[in-house]
Symmetry: C2
Subunit: 125 residues, 2 copies
Amino acid sequence: MAIDTRDDILERDETTNLIASNKVEGTAVYNRSGEKLGTVSHFMVGKRNGRVEYAVMSFGGLFGMGANHHPLPWDVLDYDTDKGGYVVDLDKERLEGAPSFARDQEPTWDRDYGTRIYGYYGLNY
Amino acid sequence: MAIDTRDDILERDETTNLIASNKVEGTAVYNRSGEKLGTVSHFMVGKRNGRVEYAVMSFGGLFGMGANHHPLPWDVLDYDTDKGGYVVDLDKERLEGAPSFARDQEPTWDRDYGTRIYGYYGLNY
């Protein structure tokens, strides 16, 4: 069995560093305790600057109803290669109080909304 | 008819500044002459840094065959609000020589590939 060279490791790392926007859906989101909080539904991306502003996390509401979409500022997410998903420093109680929306009630992604969401997580928009 | 205030304009601008990753598909790509070159198939996004590295542009090959996927470095794209699409400074001849791949032959998105693609467009990866 060949021993990985540094180049192999680098290459593998680079390879898995990108995700296709049409395959984002379903990426798991965990808290620091390893509990699965939900999955990524989609990213909200700046059309001009090409940066992900939010990962919208959903968790399986019964019958697909309820305000079960949580927009998370990109900066609260850490990608964990071993887990193959994102980790946030956020317990379930904190999440329950977090701004959220139902699938059919998408918010206006404007500055006020950004200020509110980022503010909840202690970040500047 | 009310006259737009600066805040109205700002808000509208902010609102339309984000695109959902699951709705990226189909966004038009034009050259400077206004010719439509193709449409965005998907973005390739850094899992950790949350930045779009490529917009993969596709154009309708006959029977959906052929090497009709062109990865474009994010920095060669300008978003044009009036057109509702992206503009690149790239004529069709230049595009024909550009690195591309068939849908069923997705490249390895590693450093070598990035260097090659970005290099073709005169950019550092």
